[in-house]
Symmetry: C2
Subunit: 185 residues, 2 copies
Protein backbone atom coordinates (compact mmCIF):
# COMPACT_ATOMS: atom_id res chain seq x y z
CA UNK A 1 0.00 0.00 0.00
CA UNK A 2 1.04 3.52 -0.45
CA UNK A 3 0.57 6.57 1.59
CA UNK A 4 -2.12 8.70 0.03
CA UNK A 5 -0.11 11.85 0.49
CA UNK A 6 2.89 12.36 -1.66
CA UNK A 7 5.86 14.05 -0.24
CA UNK A 8 6.73 16.80 -2.64
CA UNK A 9 10.10 15.72 -4.00
CA UNK A 10 12.48 17.96 -5.85
CA UNK A 11 10.56 20.25 -8.15
CA UNK A 12 11.01 19.05 -11.71
CA UNK A 13 11.60 21.59 -14.40
CA UNK A 14 8.14 21.37 -15.86
CA UNK A 15 6.01 23.90 -17.64
CA UNK A 16 3.18 23.13 -15.26
CA UNK A 17 4.92 23.09 -11.95
CA UNK A 18 4.22 26.31 -10.18
CA UNK A 19 7.02 27.88 -8.28
CA UNK A 20 6.54 26.76 -4.73
CA UNK A 21 8.52 29.65 -3.40
CA UNK A 22 6.77 32.18 -1.24
CA UNK A 23 5.00 32.62 2.05
CA UNK A 24 2.82 30.05 3.73
CA UNK A 25 -0.32 31.30 2.05
CA UNK A 26 1.27 30.96 -1.36
CA UNK A 27 2.11 27.38 -0.65
CA UNK A 28 -1.40 26.73 0.53
CA UNK A 29 -2.73 28.17 -2.68
CA UNK A 30 -0.34 26.14 -4.81
CA UNK A 31 -1.44 22.98 -3.14
CA UNK A 32 -4.98 23.56 -4.33
CA UNK A 33 -4.31 24.95 -7.75
CA UNK A 34 -3.79 21.57 -9.34
CA UNK A 35 -7.33 20.59 -8.42
CA UNK A 36 -9.22 23.42 -10.07
CA UNK A 37 -11.87 22.58 -12.61
CA UNK A 38 -9.71 24.25 -15.20
CA UNK A 39 -6.82 21.95 -14.39
CA UNK A 40 -9.10 18.94 -14.46
CA UNK A 41 -10.50 20.00 -17.81
CA UNK A 42 -7.09 20.32 -19.41
CA UNK A 43 -6.21 16.98 -17.86
CA UNK A 44 -9.19 15.45 -19.64
CA UNK A 45 -8.11 16.97 -22.92
CA UNK A 46 -4.50 15.94 -22.48
CA UNK A 47 -5.70 12.38 -22.01
CA UNK A 48 -7.87 12.58 -25.08
CA UNK A 49 -5.21 13.92 -27.41
CA UNK A 50 -2.36 11.85 -26.04
CA UNK A 51 -4.30 8.63 -26.18
CA UNK A 52 -5.53 9.36 -29.68
CA UNK A 53 -2.08 9.94 -31.06
CA UNK A 54 -0.75 7.03 -29.07
CA UNK A 55 -3.12 4.56 -30.70
CA UNK A 56 -2.93 6.12 -34.14
CA UNK A 57 0.55 4.77 -34.86
CA UNK A 58 -0.24 1.05 -34.75
CA UNK A 59 -3.61 1.72 -36.35
CA UNK A 60 -1.88 3.08 -39.41
CA UNK A 61 0.16 -0.07 -39.77
CA UNK A 62 -2.86 -2.29 -39.31
CA UNK A 63 -4.80 -0.66 -42.12
CA UNK A 64 -2.78 -2.47 -44.79
CA UNK A 65 -3.21 -5.83 -43.18
CA UNK A 66 -6.83 -6.65 -42.61
CA UNK A 67 -6.60 -6.14 -38.90
CA UNK A 68 -7.73 -3.49 -36.46
CA UNK A 69 -7.02 -2.24 -33.01
CA UNK A 70 -8.78 -5.18 -31.44
CA UNK A 71 -6.23 -7.53 -32.96
CA UNK A 72 -3.40 -5.46 -31.60
CA UNK A 73 -4.81 -5.51 -28.10
CA UNK A 74 -5.30 -9.25 -28.20
CA UNK A 75 -1.79 -10.06 -29.34
CA UNK A 76 -0.34 -7.52 -26.95
CA UNK A 77 -1.68 -9.41 -23.97
CA UNK A 78 -0.81 -12.77 -25.50
CA UNK A 79 2.74 -11.66 -25.95
CA UNK A 80 3.25 -10.68 -22.37
CA UNK A 81 1.14 -13.38 -20.76
CA UNK A 82 1.84 -16.40 -22.93
CA UNK A 83 -0.41 -19.34 -22.25
CA UNK A 84 -3.23 -17.29 -20.83
CA UNK A 85 -6.71 -18.73 -21.19
CA UNK A 86 -9.48 -17.36 -23.33
CA UNK A 87 -11.41 -16.35 -20.23
CA UNK A 88 -8.43 -14.45 -18.89
CA UNK A 89 -7.98 -12.59 -22.15
CA UNK A 90 -11.66 -11.72 -22.20
CA UNK A 91 -11.35 -10.25 -18.74
CA UNK A 92 -8.24 -8.27 -19.60
CA UNK A 93 -9.78 -6.81 -22.71
CA UNK A 94 -13.16 -6.27 -21.12
CA UNK A 95 -15.12 -7.56 -24.10
CA UNK A 96 -17.56 -10.37 -24.69
CA UNK A 97 -16.44 -13.74 -25.86
CA UNK A 98 -18.29 -13.23 -29.13
CA UNK A 99 -16.36 -10.08 -29.77
CA UNK A 100 -13.03 -11.65 -28.95
CA UNK A 101 -13.83 -14.79 -30.87
CA UNK A 102 -14.16 -12.96 -34.14
CA UNK A 103 -10.67 -11.56 -33.71
CA UNK A 104 -9.20 -14.75 -32.37
CA UNK A 105 -10.53 -16.83 -35.24
CA UNK A 106 -8.78 -14.63 -37.76
CA UNK A 107 -5.52 -14.61 -35.88
CA UNK A 108 -5.52 -18.39 -35.61
CA UNK A 109 -6.50 -18.85 -39.25
CA UNK A 110 -3.66 -16.55 -40.27
CA UNK A 111 -1.18 -18.45 -38.17
CA UNK A 112 -0.37 -15.70 -35.70
CA UNK A 113 -1.88 -17.45 -32.71
CA UNK A 114 -1.88 -21.03 -31.52
CA UNK A 115 -4.03 -22.74 -28.96
CA UNK A 116 -2.99 -25.54 -26.70
CA UNK A 117 -5.26 -27.61 -24.52
CA UNK A 118 -4.98 -26.86 -20.83
CA UNK A 119 -2.94 -29.41 -18.93
CA UNK A 120 -4.97 -29.65 -15.76
CA UNK A 121 -8.25 -28.50 -17.27
CA UNK A 122 -8.64 -29.77 -20.78
CA UNK A 123 -11.55 -27.49 -21.52
CA UNK A 124 -9.25 -24.52 -21.46
CA UNK A 125 -7.54 -23.20 -24.55
CA UNK A 126 -4.27 -21.57 -23.72
CA UNK A 127 -3.18 -18.90 -26.13
CA UNK A 128 0.28 -18.41 -27.56
CA UNK A 129 1.73 -16.27 -30.28
CA UNK A 130 3.59 -17.93 -33.11
CA UNK A 131 6.80 -16.43 -34.41
CA UNK A 132 4.78 -14.50 -36.95
CA UNK A 133 2.49 -13.29 -34.21
CA UNK A 134 5.39 -12.06 -32.16
CA UNK A 135 6.79 -10.28 -35.19
CA UNK A 136 3.59 -8.37 -35.75
CA UNK A 137 3.20 -7.54 -32.09
CA UNK A 138 6.72 -6.18 -31.95
CA UNK A 139 6.18 -4.15 -35.08
CA UNK A 140 3.02 -2.60 -33.71
CA UNK A 141 4.12 -2.00 -30.18
CA UNK A 142 7.47 -0.62 -31.19
CA UNK A 143 5.74 2.49 -32.47
CA UNK A 144 4.12 2.96 -29.10
CA UNK A 145 7.26 2.16 -27.16
CA UNK A 146 9.15 4.65 -29.27
CA UNK A 147 6.62 7.38 -28.59
CA UNK A 148 6.58 6.61 -24.91
CA UNK A 149 10.35 6.33 -24.75
CA UNK A 150 10.77 9.74 -26.23
CA UNK A 151 8.19 11.30 -23.95
CA UNK A 152 9.72 9.60 -20.91
CA UNK A 153 13.20 10.69 -21.84
CA UNK A 154 12.18 14.28 -22.37
CA UNK A 155 10.11 14.44 -19.22
CA UNK A 156 12.56 12.64 -16.97
CA UNK A 157 12.19 9.92 -14.33
CA UNK A 158 10.42 12.12 -11.81
CA UNK A 159 7.69 13.04 -14.23
CA UNK A 160 7.36 9.44 -15.34
CA UNK A 161 6.85 8.34 -11.77
CA UNK A 162 4.05 10.87 -11.42
CA UNK A 163 2.58 9.83 -14.75
CA UNK A 164 2.39 6.21 -13.66
CA UNK A 165 1.16 7.12 -10.24
CA UNK A 166 -1.80 9.11 -11.52
CA UNK A 167 -2.73 6.57 -14.16
CA UNK A 168 -2.63 3.85 -11.57
CA UNK A 169 -4.96 5.74 -9.29
CA UNK A 170 -7.32 6.46 -12.14
CA UNK A 171 -8.00 2.80 -12.77
CA UNK A 172 -10.82 0.89 -11.20
CA UNK A 173 -9.98 -1.62 -8.53
CA UNK A 174 -10.61 -4.43 -10.97
CA UNK A 175 -8.10 -3.23 -13.51
CA UNK A 176 -5.58 -2.55 -10.76
CA UNK A 177 -5.96 -6.13 -9.61
CA UNK A 178 -5.58 -7.45 -13.14
CA UNK A 179 -2.44 -5.46 -13.65
CA UNK A 180 -1.00 -6.55 -10.35
CA UNK A 181 -1.44 -10.26 -11.01
CA UNK A 182 0.63 -10.13 -14.16
CA UNK A 183 2.97 -7.30 -13.43
CA UNK A 184 5.34 -6.56 -10.66
CA UNK A 185 5.02 -2.89 -10.14
Amino acid sequence: MQSPIRTPPTPRPSPHAGSAVGGASTIRADQRLFLTDEQLRTGIELLFFAYRDFTADPDRILVDREYGRAHHRAIHFMRHRPGLTVAALIELLGVTKQSLNRVLRQLIADGLVEQTVGETDRRQRRLHLTAAGRDLELLLSETQRERLRRAYLEAGPEAVAGFREVLHRMMNEGARRLLATTTER
Copy 2:
Protein backbone atom coordinates in the same frame (compact mmCIF):
# COMPACT_ATOMS: atom_id res chain seq x y z
CA MET B 1 14.33 -6.27 -29.13
CA GLN B 2 13.07 -6.97 -25.70
CA SER B 3 15.83 -6.83 -23.16
CA PRO B 4 15.99 -10.08 -21.23
CA ILE B 5 16.86 -8.22 -18.11
CA ARG B 6 14.28 -8.43 -15.43
CA THR B 7 13.44 -5.03 -14.17
CA PRO B 8 14.07 -4.86 -10.47
CA PRO B 9 11.18 -3.46 -8.48
CA THR B 10 10.55 -0.38 -10.48
CA PRO B 11 11.64 2.91 -9.03
CA ARG B 12 8.19 3.22 -7.55
CA PRO B 13 6.90 6.69 -6.97
CA SER B 14 8.15 6.70 -3.47
CA PRO B 15 8.40 9.63 -1.15
CA HIS B 16 12.09 9.83 -1.86
CA ALA B 17 11.67 9.43 -5.58
CA GLY B 18 13.57 12.58 -6.19
CA SER B 19 16.11 12.39 -3.47
CA ALA B 20 19.39 12.39 -5.25
CA VAL B 21 21.18 10.67 -2.44
CA GLY B 22 23.74 8.04 -3.28
CA GLY B 23 26.79 7.58 -5.41
CA ALA B 24 27.02 8.79 -8.95
CA SER B 25 26.69 5.27 -10.33
CA THR B 26 23.44 4.79 -8.45
CA ILE B 27 22.05 7.89 -10.02
CA ARG B 28 23.19 6.78 -13.43
CA ALA B 29 21.40 3.46 -13.01
CA ASP B 30 18.20 5.09 -11.78
CA GLN B 31 18.19 7.37 -14.75
CA ARG B 32 18.00 4.44 -17.12
CA LEU B 33 15.68 2.11 -15.28
CA PHE B 34 12.57 4.01 -16.18
CA LEU B 35 13.28 3.47 -19.86
CA THR B 36 13.44 -0.32 -19.92
CA ASP B 37 11.12 -2.17 -22.27
CA GLU B 38 9.42 -3.59 -19.23
CA GLN B 39 8.66 -0.12 -17.92
CA LEU B 40 7.41 0.96 -21.31
CA ARG B 41 5.17 -2.08 -21.51
CA THR B 42 3.53 -1.42 -18.18
CA GLY B 43 3.18 2.19 -19.24
CA ILE B 44 1.25 1.04 -22.28
CA GLU B 45 -1.00 -1.11 -20.14
CA LEU B 46 -1.53 1.60 -17.56
CA LEU B 47 -2.69 3.86 -20.34
CA PHE B 48 -5.02 1.21 -21.69
CA PHE B 49 -6.70 0.40 -18.40
CA ALA B 50 -6.84 3.94 -17.09
CA TYR B 51 -8.29 5.33 -20.29
CA ARG B 52 -10.82 2.54 -20.49
CA ASP B 53 -12.16 3.12 -17.01
CA PHE B 54 -11.97 6.84 -17.54
CA THR B 55 -14.30 6.76 -20.52
CA ALA B 56 -16.57 4.08 -19.11
CA ASP B 57 -18.25 6.40 -16.61
CA PRO B 58 -19.84 8.81 -19.08
CA ASP B 59 -20.51 5.95 -21.47
CA ARG B 60 -22.74 4.32 -18.89
CA ILE B 61 -24.80 7.47 -18.55
CA LEU B 62 -25.09 7.86 -22.29
CA VAL B 63 -26.51 4.40 -22.79
CA ASP B 64 -29.93 5.41 -21.49
CA ARG B 65 -30.13 8.45 -23.67
CA GLU B 66 -29.61 7.59 -27.27
CA TYR B 67 -26.16 9.09 -27.37
CA GLY B 68 -22.64 7.74 -27.47
CA ARG B 69 -19.12 8.80 -26.78
CA ALA B 70 -18.99 10.86 -29.94
CA HIS B 71 -21.73 13.10 -28.60
CA HIS B 72 -19.86 13.57 -25.37
CA ARG B 73 -16.70 14.63 -27.13
CA ALA B 74 -18.54 17.09 -29.30
CA ILE B 75 -20.33 18.82 -26.46
CA HIS B 76 -17.20 18.79 -24.36
CA PHE B 77 -15.37 20.96 -26.85
CA MET B 78 -18.41 23.10 -27.46
CA ARG B 79 -18.69 23.79 -23.78
CA HIS B 80 -15.17 25.01 -23.40
CA ARG B 81 -14.82 26.75 -26.75
CA PRO B 82 -18.25 28.29 -27.26
CA GLY B 83 -18.81 29.69 -30.71
CA LEU B 84 -16.26 27.50 -32.41
CA THR B 85 -16.86 26.72 -36.05
CA VAL B 86 -17.73 23.35 -37.49
CA ALA B 87 -14.34 23.15 -39.14
CA ALA B 88 -12.60 23.84 -35.83
CA LEU B 89 -14.58 21.12 -34.10
CA ILE B 90 -13.78 18.69 -36.87
CA GLU B 91 -10.10 19.40 -36.43
CA LEU B 92 -10.25 19.02 -32.65
CA LEU B 93 -12.07 15.72 -32.83
CA GLY B 94 -10.04 14.47 -35.75
CA VAL B 95 -13.00 13.07 -37.63
CA THR B 96 -14.58 13.67 -41.00
CA LYS B 97 -17.38 16.12 -41.44
CA GLN B 98 -19.74 13.29 -42.33
CA SER B 99 -19.00 11.61 -39.05
CA LEU B 100 -19.43 14.78 -37.05
CA ASN B 101 -22.53 15.77 -38.96
CA ARG B 102 -24.47 12.72 -37.89
CA VAL B 103 -23.82 13.57 -34.26
CA LEU B 104 -24.36 17.28 -34.69
CA ARG B 105 -27.70 16.81 -36.40
CA GLN B 106 -29.04 14.83 -33.48
CA LEU B 107 -27.76 17.29 -30.91
CA ILE B 108 -29.36 20.20 -32.74
CA ALA B 109 -32.63 18.35 -33.28
CA ASP B 110 -32.73 17.54 -29.57
CA GLY B 111 -32.12 21.14 -28.61
CA LEU B 112 -28.73 20.66 -26.99
CA VAL B 113 -26.81 22.64 -29.56
CA GLU B 114 -27.52 25.84 -31.43
CA GLN B 115 -25.88 27.27 -34.49
CA THR B 116 -25.39 30.92 -35.28
CA VAL B 117 -24.20 32.37 -38.53
CA GLY B 118 -20.68 33.72 -38.45
CA GLU B 119 -20.48 37.48 -38.16
CA THR B 120 -17.59 38.19 -40.46
CA ASP B 121 -17.97 35.06 -42.57
CA ARG B 122 -21.60 34.13 -43.02
CA ARG B 123 -20.76 30.69 -44.37
CA GLN B 124 -19.58 29.64 -40.97
CA ARG B 125 -21.86 28.01 -38.42
CA ARG B 126 -20.72 28.79 -34.91
CA LEU B 127 -21.65 26.19 -32.35
CA HIS B 128 -23.06 26.82 -28.89
CA LEU B 129 -24.54 24.64 -26.21
CA THR B 130 -28.02 25.44 -24.98
CA ALA B 131 -28.79 25.27 -21.27
CA ALA B 132 -29.85 21.67 -21.74
CA GLY B 133 -26.62 20.97 -23.57
CA ARG B 134 -24.57 22.42 -20.77
CA ASP B 135 -26.51 20.36 -18.26
CA LEU B 136 -25.71 17.14 -20.05
CA GLU B 137 -22.08 18.07 -20.53
CA LEU B 138 -21.72 18.84 -16.86
CA LEU B 139 -23.38 15.59 -15.89
CA LEU B 140 -21.08 13.59 -18.12
CA SER B 141 -17.84 15.35 -17.40
CA GLU B 142 -18.44 15.46 -13.67
CA THR B 143 -17.87 11.71 -13.53
CA GLN B 144 -14.54 12.21 -15.21
CA ARG B 145 -13.58 15.21 -13.16
CA GLU B 146 -14.42 13.30 -10.02
CA ARG B 147 -12.23 10.38 -11.03
CA LEU B 148 -9.40 12.68 -11.98
CA ARG B 149 -9.83 14.78 -8.86
CA ARG B 150 -9.52 11.76 -6.62
CA ALA B 151 -6.48 10.45 -8.48
CA TYR B 152 -4.85 13.88 -8.42
CA LEU B 153 -5.52 14.32 -4.74
CA GLU B 154 -4.11 10.94 -3.86
CA ALA B 155 -1.08 11.33 -6.06
CA GLY B 156 -0.27 14.89 -5.11
CA PRO B 157 0.72 17.97 -7.11
CA GLU B 158 4.18 16.74 -8.01
CA ALA B 159 2.85 13.55 -9.54
CA VAL B 160 0.17 15.50 -11.38
CA ALA B 161 2.79 17.77 -12.88
CA GLY B 162 4.63 14.71 -14.14
CA PHE B 163 1.43 13.19 -15.43
CA ARG B 164 0.65 16.27 -17.47
CA GLU B 165 4.19 16.62 -18.61
CA VAL B 166 4.39 13.12 -20.05
CA LEU B 167 0.97 13.30 -21.67
CA HIS B 168 1.91 16.57 -23.25
CA ARG B 169 5.07 15.14 -24.71
CA MET B 170 3.21 12.11 -26.00
CA MET B 171 0.97 14.19 -28.22
CA ASN B 172 1.73 15.00 -31.82
CA GLU B 173 2.74 18.50 -32.68
CA GLY B 174 -0.68 19.13 -34.18
CA ALA B 175 -2.57 18.27 -31.04
CA ARG B 176 -0.16 20.29 -28.95
CA ARG B 177 -0.85 23.28 -31.14
CA LEU B 178 -4.58 22.76 -30.93
CA LEU B 179 -4.44 22.57 -27.18
CA ALA B 180 -2.29 25.65 -26.95
CA THR B 181 -4.58 27.82 -29.04
CA THR B 182 -7.52 27.25 -26.78
CA THR B 183 -5.87 26.69 -23.46
CA GLU B 184 -3.52 28.76 -21.44
CA ARG B 185 -1.21 26.20 -20.05
